[in-house]
């Protein structure tokens, strides 16, 4: 692995960028398009507009109505999807390689020649409001989302992708088109393809497809935002107490990124991680407990989740805080670091076995870092992380001073946190 990696890169006349990675032995090709438009780009009056626009894209183009568009995708066996997040909107498709040109043509039109039919706006509005209700019903999703919003409170990274009920209610077709015109411009787009495809033909097709697309500006530059600690308790009459914690991580592209990823592994990345051992295996406090690192371009955060017996939630919080204290005081053990390295490297190699895995890795790495990394380079970067690097990072993060906690469940703030911070 690694030596046979061929990366292809091209900047189109329009300013859009293309990255490709051919793979032998596969019939499929995976295609992705990222648009630099996400929740962080939104003004308060238009909260949720990125997601709203994304949901409208497949409602028809200038030449194909929603049903014709969908039938075309289906009859070609093109499996497509779309999503929107804090920083970007993404469209993806996977298909047999010989259908890649057709997929590109269709997705290109979806991105740039979307029709925004007026009669679809209210339907999409209803679906987005339902999506919020759905999230409300899923306690784990909800606390993880709320803890991010609290952690990045009053900054663009604290925006809710689903907007607010009011902003979504008042969104007009004109608002959607205005936002789309501003952000869906050629320099704000990246195309990524991996698998079985013809690069020369693809570039030729993309030059034609994007020739008339507006130039506009590239992605907005954001500075790293302020972060906020604090406790939020949301009451709900359910069985378990769902607790999420957030503390500062590092951005993707930060030289300390892999050190941070290794901290997440050791803290709550697997069944031998500290939280899994202490919370689940030793004390049986929870079924689900984990920690993860979420990197963005200018910032990053660690998040911990535990779903625990309500009557033992206080104990769960104490155990986790104690583990965070230990992490700050002692850093990682050498064997934890080594184990984490093996896991990170292996999962990276195994992910890159599929066309969609490689397409996505390249798209993300081009978006976040402006370059592509071969599996071998990533392995080297992981191997280079020393115990000193990790321990210096852990000290710098000042975890417990910057900790945001959100609890959702039957217990009160006093029942959950009484005496917990006493020793400070």
């Amino acid at each position: 692995m690694g030596d046979d990696t061929t990366f292809l890169m091209h900047r189109l006349q329009s300013g859009a960028q293309v990255v490709g990675q051919p793979m032998g032995g596969v019939e499929s090709a995976a295609l992705g398009i990222s648009i630099g438009a996400g929740a962080r780009d939104e003004n308060p009056a238009e909260f949720g507009v990125s997601h709203f626009v994304e949901q409208m894209l497949f409602r028809g183009t200038e030449t194909l109505d929603a049903r014709q568009l969908s039938d075309r995708f289906d009859s070609l066996g093109i499996n497509y999807d779309s999503s929107s997040g804090i920083e970007m909107t993404m469209l993806t498709a996977i298909m047999l390689g010989d259908r890649a040109p057709a997929a590109l043509e269709l997705l290109g039109n979806v991105v740039r020649r979307a029709a925004f039919p007026a009669d679809a706006v209210d339907n999409v509005r209803s679906l987005i409001q339902q999506e919020r209700r759905q999230r409300e019903d899923h306690a784990a999703h909800r606390v993880l989302e709320v803890v991010r919003q609290e952690f990045y409170r009053d900054t663009p990274l604290g925006h809710d992708m689903l907007g607010t009920p009011e902003s979504v209610d008042s969104m007009s077709r004109e608002d959607l088109v205005r936002y789309w015109s501003k952000y869906y411009t050629a320099p704000n787009l990246i195309f990524s393809i991996a698998g079985n495809f013809d690069w020369e033909a693809l570039i030729g097709q993309l030059e034609d497809l994007t020739a008339a697309w507006p130039a506009g500006s590239g992605p907005a530059i954001f500075s790293s935002p302020a972060m906020h600690g604090g406790v939020t308790v949301l009451a709900k009459d359910i069985e378990q107490e769902n607790i999420a914690m957030a503390f500062p991580g590092v951005a993707i592209g930060d030289p300390r990124y892999y050190a941070a990823a290794l901290v997440a592994q050791a803290l709550g990345g697997g069944m031998n991680s500290r939280l899994f051992q202490e919370v689940r295996e030793k004390r049986g406090l929870a079924y689900g407990v984990q920690a993860r690192l979420d990197g963005l371009s200018r910032s990053g955060l660690f998040r911990i989740y535990v779903g625990t017996a309500a009557e033992r939630a206080h104990e769960s919080i104490e155990v986790i805080l104690e583990e965070l204290g230990k992490l700050e005081a002692e850093g990682l053990h050498p064997e934890e670091l080594e184990l984490g390295k093996i896991r990170l490297k292996s999962s990276q190699v195994m992910r890159s076995e599929s066309t969609s895995g490689r397409m996505m890795a390249n798209l993300r790495s081009w978006w976040f870092e402006g370059r592509l990394k071969s599996p071998r380079e990533v392995q080297r970067l992981i191997d280079q992380v020393s115990l000193d690097d990790v321990n210096a990072l852990v000290r710098d993060l000042d975890i417990r001073q910057n900790l945001a906690i959100v609890a959702l469940g039957p217990r009160s703030e006093d029942e959950l946190f009484g005496g917990v911070f006493a020793g400070g």
């Binding site: 032995g25 019939e27 066996g77 209700r133 076995e353």
Partner: protein, 421 residues
């Protein structure tokens, strides 16, 4: 680059060991990983009302202590291999699975084999019981799970397929480690298991290794009591004001696991309720009525389900349900166009081919194929079987297994019964 061997040029293998353990393999050129699985033909339906949940609890215990390894050693070994690994239990299966880089395959197979022979120690049992109780509590907070539990109870009633895989807090508190040992003795014989591997491996080496690892395993028995399912339509509303969305499950009987018409049923479900471009998609999602409306075929031994799931807001719930039921009625008329059929087939074939590049997808495919037909289907076979489905096949299937008007319907969410019925 273009001369590289393709993953589609696979070689398939089967072999049965003297102790009855059935081995299955698909060598996939061009892959770097190997996915392996020990599949035990036992699950919730093989329990008794008193021991409900024992299959799943036992799966947890496998990771607590094997004959030679502790939990930390088991997980440590997998993690040092950089493995993806997991286990799962459902109505008629328990499996232990790992995917690793090819060089680690022998070690991963060895540990998986250990997992099938757990120590079942009393202290571990008491400790793990707490985790199971938390898993149940978590389950009871998840609307989709609550809905599904209600549905299975209403659909299968006294039949063992209605039982809850996690058990109930009561059965889990009552369960003893002796009962679990007895269950293991009865269900974990070699002849009641399958082993499968897909990806990058050498078959002769795998056969020799497993032969050695399992040479002392008892054959055991592979029987399962198959009780016929009787169908009775019903409509029950389980109001639960903790939740914001209203969810429905609508089901009718369908074909059993060994029925060769499975592909026709899959095409039918795709036409009606695939998550994009299907009849339900246009009638409910595109109109803003329901956030999700999807259909699936679920096959078991001696039973099957054609199941539609609907998630909507309470204010539109009655209308959304009515819309689904009228789509089911329209499907039942057999008025299906060749265009619809072709699109559904193209979607399924495409996902079969793309899934065919993944070692995980394929290892599950081998198991599914063997459980259903006692043979391994190549990607070519699958493609042909899907291509061969005609509109007449769909009509015959609908005649044999009508999707309405008699249905089991379950509603779960904030809506009051009067607003729905």
């Amino acid at each position: 680059m273009m001369t590289a061997p393709a993953r589609q040029d696979s070689t398939f293998y089967t072999h049965q060991l003297p102790n009855g353990l059935q081995l299955l393999g698909q060598h996939m050129p061009g892959t770097v990983s190997a996915a392996s699985i020990f599949w035990v033909r036992t699950g919730t339906r093989d329990e008794t009302a008193r021991t409900m949940g024992v299959s799943h609890f036992l799966e947890h215990m496998a990771f607590r202590r094997s004959q030679t390894m502790t939990q930390k050693e088991i997980d440590g070994a997998f993690e040092r291999m950089g493995a993806e690994y997991n286990a799962a239990t459902w109505l008629e299966m328990t499996y232990f699975w790992a995917r690793v880089l090819a060089s680690e395959a022998p070690r991963s197979i060895q540990i998986l084999s250990e997992l099938t022979h757990p120590m079942l120690d009393q202290d571990d049992f008491d400790q793990e019981r707490l985790v199971i109780l938390e898993e149940i509590a978590r389950f009871k907070d998840q609307p989709a799970q609550i809905l599904f539990d209600h549905f299975m109870e209403d659909f299968f009633r006294s039949h063992p397929l209605s039982w809850e895989t996690l058990g109930t807090p009561e059965t889990i508190k009552e369960l003893t480690v002796e009962e679990m040992r007895e269950y293991w003795n009865r269900r974990y014989g070699a002849s009641n298991m399958l082993f499968a591997i897909a990806g990058n491996f050498d078959w002769d080496t795998v056969v020799a290794q497993i032969g050695e690892l399992t040479s002392l395993w008892d054959s055991g028995t592979s029987s399962r009591e198959i009780i016929p399912v009787s169908f009775e339509s019903s409509f029950n509303v389980y109001t639960d004001e903790r939740f914001a969305q209203e969810q429905f499950a609508i089901g009718t009987p369908s074909l059993d696991r060994s029925d060769p018409r499975y592909y026709a049923a899959a095409v039918l479900a795709t036409i009606l309720g695939d998550d994009t471009g299907s009849r339900l998609f246009w009638a409910l999602h595109e109109t803003g009525l329901a956030e999700s409306a999807t259909s699936n075929v679920m096959v078991f031994e001696g039973a099957g389900l054609f199941l539609t799931h609907l998630s909507t807001e309470p204010g539109q719930a009655a209308k959304a349900l009515e819309t689904v039921r009228s789509e089911l009625a329209r499907l039942q008329t057999g008025d299906i166009s060749e265009d619809e059929l072709d699109r559904a087939k193209a979607k399924i074939i495409s996902s079969v081919v793309i899934g065919g590049e993944s070692t995980n997808d394929r290892v599950m495919g081998l198991i599914r194929s063997w459980l259903s037909y006692h043979s391994l289907e190549t990607l070519h076979d699958l493609r042909q079987k899907i291509e061969a489905v005609t509109v007449d096949d769909l009509r015959e299937l609908l005649a044999a297994y009508p999707v309405g008007p008699d249905q089991v319907i379950v509603a779960s969410g904030p809506a009051a019964a009067e607003s729905l019925v």
